[in-house]
């Protein structure tokens, strides 16, 4: 087994999403040396264990990036470059952008190349021919619905998934889905997303307060919140249909969708269902503001039709806010109905409305118990330390016996 691994984390953009950035910092903390490749969107701010190999999105920067690595490879790794250029010709990928992307990886040649988005797999299978281990993350849309609508993508997965050295699955459910495209079960490692220890401690503490504050007073509307980009997979149409049912039942509530502002189909549905006084659509908010809104809510609602495991649910559970989720993707791996939150079937506005009505009349002691169990679940299953150690086990396992 290698003692100090050189791991490339590739999402195509620098910096990447919150959970990928958390992974990077966790790996560095574990002693790994991390390489990041891709387009520089912002000036990188990483600790000393991270090597950034990025370029800005303009012609000059791309040209300079390509020229630099072409020269280095020509001077010092001529054989590798020649072999790779032959491969590109065979694949009919001789465009300059492919070289801008790939030459730096060929030059640095990490021990592990960890691709975050499976859709890009066809561009990176070559790394195995140069001694790198290929790891692919299995995340939401890339596995759960895109290959269903895109038969060419499904065919690509079926061709390459059996060859991938290791998969990082964000849930058991998505790992099973990947197997339908030929991923070997023994190559799949479930590593749950983790919340940073510092944030989790603060959130856990803060989460106690709303548990004991008086709730469900007749005059106070029940506060429901959803957080997420305005994408169809979030199932907000079902949530809004459920709001109509709640209103018809006389339930006093307010529903806020953070990230749903200026989306005309939601706006039209609100007008159509006469929910102007009950529903508000907010624009995307900074992380701290989102946390405050979740903390102040009585219920976090996840109405999705598809998810890996939604991070916002983990955040809400850690904060001590009750969660009602649809039973999609890996949500049942963190929410056990009636124990750590509530689960209802997907695409069922009536079930959502019924569950919300039941939750509004939940006795305080029962709500408190569920919140505490939810917080415990997060601590036991979704800490950043667990995520980092899980990922390191995955990477190190690739070299066992070699």
């Amino acid at each position: 087994m290698k003692t100090s691994l050189k791991i490339a984390i590739y999402s195509g953009e620098i910096p990447s999403t919150t959970f990928i950035e958390r992974l990077i910092s966790g790996l560095v903390g574990s002693g790994a040396s991390v390489l990041i490749f891709g387009i520089l969107r912002e000036k990188p701010r990483y600790s000393s264990g991270v090597t950034v190999v990025g370029y800005q999105l303009n012609r000059f920067a791309k040209f300079w990036h390509l020229a630099r690595y072409t020269l280095l490879l020509t001077l010092f790794k001529r054989g590798d470059k020649k072999r790779f250029d032959v491969y590109l010709q065979q694949q009919q990928k001789t465009d300059l952008y492919t070289k801008v992307k790939c030459y730096p990886v060929l030059w640095h040649r990490p021990d592990v190349f960890h691709l975050q988005w499976a859709k890009g797999l066809a561009d990176w299978v070559w790394v195995q021919d140069f001694g790198m281990k290929l790891v692919v993350s299995l995340r939401g849309a890339h596995i759960n619905y895109s290959p269903i609508a895109d038969t060419a993508l499904a065919a690509m997965y079926r061709e390459y998934f059996p060859k991938v050295d290791g998969f990082h699955a964000v849930s058991e459910a998505i790992g099973l889905e990947a197997q339908t495209y030929g991923a070997h079960p023994e190559a799949i490692h479930v590593v749950y997303s983790g919340l940073p220890a510092s944030e989790m401690e603060a959130e856990m503490e803060a989460g106690i307060e709303p548990v004991v504050k008086p709730k469900n007073l007749p005059a106070k509307p029940f506060q429901i919140v959803s957080v997420g980009r305005p994408h169809w997979k979030k199932g907000y149409t079902y949530a809004l249909d459920a709001c109509k049912l709640l209103k018809e039942k006389g339930t006093l509530f307010e529903y806020t969708i953070i990230g749903g502002a200026h989306v005309v189909d939601y706006q039209y549905q609100i007008v159509d269902l006469e929910l102007d006084n009950e529903v508000r659509l907010l624009s995307q908010k900074p992380f701290n503001e989102v946390q405050r809104l979740i903390l102040n809510a009585d219920l976090l609602l996840l109405s999705s039709v598809e998810e890996g495991i939604a991070n916002v649910v983990l955040e809400a559970m850690a904060l001590g806010t009750l969660v009602l989720s649809t039973d999609c993707g890996g949500m049942d791996e963190v929410i056990h109905d009636g124990e750590t939150g509530f689960l209802v079937p997907i695409r069922d506005a009536q079930a959502l409305a019924d569950a919300i009505i039941a939750i509004t009349s939940l006795p305080t002691a029962a709500a408190l118990k569920i919140k505490k169990q939810a917080q415990l679940k997060i601590k036991e299953q979704h800490s950043e330390a667990l995520m980092t150690s899980g990922m390191m086990r995955l990477y190190e396992g690739l070299f066992v016996g070699s």
Binding site: Y145, I148, W232, D241, V264, Q267, Y268, V271, R347
Partner: protein
């Protein structure tokens, strides 16, 4: 035949793009007006495109105000100079009218630059093909001393104001003749303060000689597979996700069916995934966009036409399906209730309620052959009598002769 008494009338029609061959609404309208001696001048705001040969009219395209700041400055300066020199009176009048309703000096100049291309022609009518095209151009008709007309489609009237709040406030204070597609839209326009006398309902029309079929007498009961069809863009407002949910209920009820969707659009992935998740993907075909002859061929093979839209101005596709003798089941979205008369020429179901749609479909499928034939005959007769191109052209002639 040319009506020489109208030969001196000139109509300027403002569209976002030149209508294609398949856009029968505008091509029929233009050719009809030309046949009656009107001179039609097209103004295009976004792109020029290719003028269909059947439309022998001149096209004036708006200047291109995109690109670098320097380019925009140069174009704007040239346009401003040209309009002041070539149309000094009209330009001054436009500027003064804008100033009189509170636009600042710079805003009035910007509006003048934007609208300068519309000031060059002498017209009897300036007709904006969509409501949003008249926004920012409220004073052009007065400036050129023409009468102003605005056509509202469903999207303009119901969705644009959600995206651009109060966008029609200024327009609704002006002396404008409005054309809408349905009585429902007329009522909604009146609710915005527009006088009833200023609104004319002219419904869409279709070529009843092209969409022409025998009444539907197919026996749907028994073991035969029911052929369902929709022709629509894959857009959220078409309610196709609700339709698929209803079909999942239909399958649970033991009905053997096949559903074809003709059309393309941004929601394809969402809908394919929905069909997959609902367990009916084997019974659904996404056919993509087809030419009119192929659409007619598919309609001829089908039993029931579905248009379970969330928002719909009127919908030509439903007219075409009725003319072809299909049994039509539609939602109650805006103009659809006038397009199909409930239990007379088809069936109208409350929108966003898939259970109700499924129930209605079961009832229709179980109808006797005589009842089906009677409905089909009534629909065909009504479409032929009330929604033919000749009648629509006559309505537009009357509109411009008011």
């Amino acid at each position: 035949m040319t009506d020489t008494t109208r030969a001196n009338k000139r109509i300027g029609l403002v569209l976002s793009a030149v209508p294609g061959y398949s856009e029968t609404f505008f091509t029929n309208k233009i050719s009809g007006l030309q046949a009656h001696g009107f001179e039609v001048q097209l103004f295009v705001t976004d792109q020029s495109g290719v003028i269909p040969d059947v439309l022998d009219c001149r096209v004036q395209t708006a200047p291109f105000f995109k690109g670098s700041a320097f380019r925009v400055l140069c174009t704007s300066s040239w346009v401003l100079l040209k309009t002041i020199l070539c149309q000094p009176v009209r330009s001054f009048r436009h500027f003064q009218l804008d100033r009189s309703v509170g636009f600042s000096f710079s805003a009035s100049v910007k509006r003048l630059i934007k609208n300068a291309f519309l000031l060059e022609e002498s017209l009897d009518w300036l007709h904006f093909g969509f409501g949003m095209l008249a926004v920012g151009r409220e004073h052009v008709a007065t400036a050129i001393q023409a009468r102003m007309a605005v056509s509202f489609r469903g999207f303009d009237l119901y969705l644009s104001p959600l995206k651009h709040p109060n966008c029609y406030d200024l327009l609704f204070t002006k002396n404008v003749q409005y054309h809408v597609l349905s009585e429902e839209m007329k009522g909604d326009l009146q609710a915005n303060g527009v006088l009833e006398s200023a609104i004319t309902v002219i419904t869409p029309a279709i070529d009843v000689t092209f969409f022409n079929s025998k009444p539907n007498t197919t026996e749907l009961e028994g073991n035969s597979k029911v052929q369902l069809i929709t022709v629509a863009r894959l857009h959220w407002k078409k309610g196709l996700e609700y339709t698929l949910e209803a079909l999942a209920v239909l399958r649970q009820a033991g009905v053997d069916f096949h559903y074809s969707i003709i059309g393309t659009g941004e929601e394809r992935e969402r809908l394919v995934f929905a069909a997959h998740q609902l367990g009916i993907i084997d019974a659904v075909t996404f056919m993509g966009q087809l030419p009119p002859e192929a659409v007619r061929e598919q309609l001829a093979k089908s039993d029931i036409y579905l248009q379970y839209s969330i928002q719909e101005g009127f919908c030509n596709a439903v007219l075409e399906a009725q003319a072809m003798g299909l049994l039509c089941v539609v939602s109650d979205a805006e103009g659809l209730q006038e397009n199909v008369l409930h239990q007379e020429t088809g069936w109208v179901v409350a929108k966003r309620q898939p259970q109700l749609l499924a129930k209605q479909l079961v009832e229709v499928i179980q109808l006797s052959a005589d009842d089906k034939e009677a409905t089909s005959i009534r629909a065909i007769r009504r479409i032929r009598d009330d929604f033919n191109l000749k009648k629509q052209q006559a309505a537009f002639l009357a509109f411009y002769n008011t």
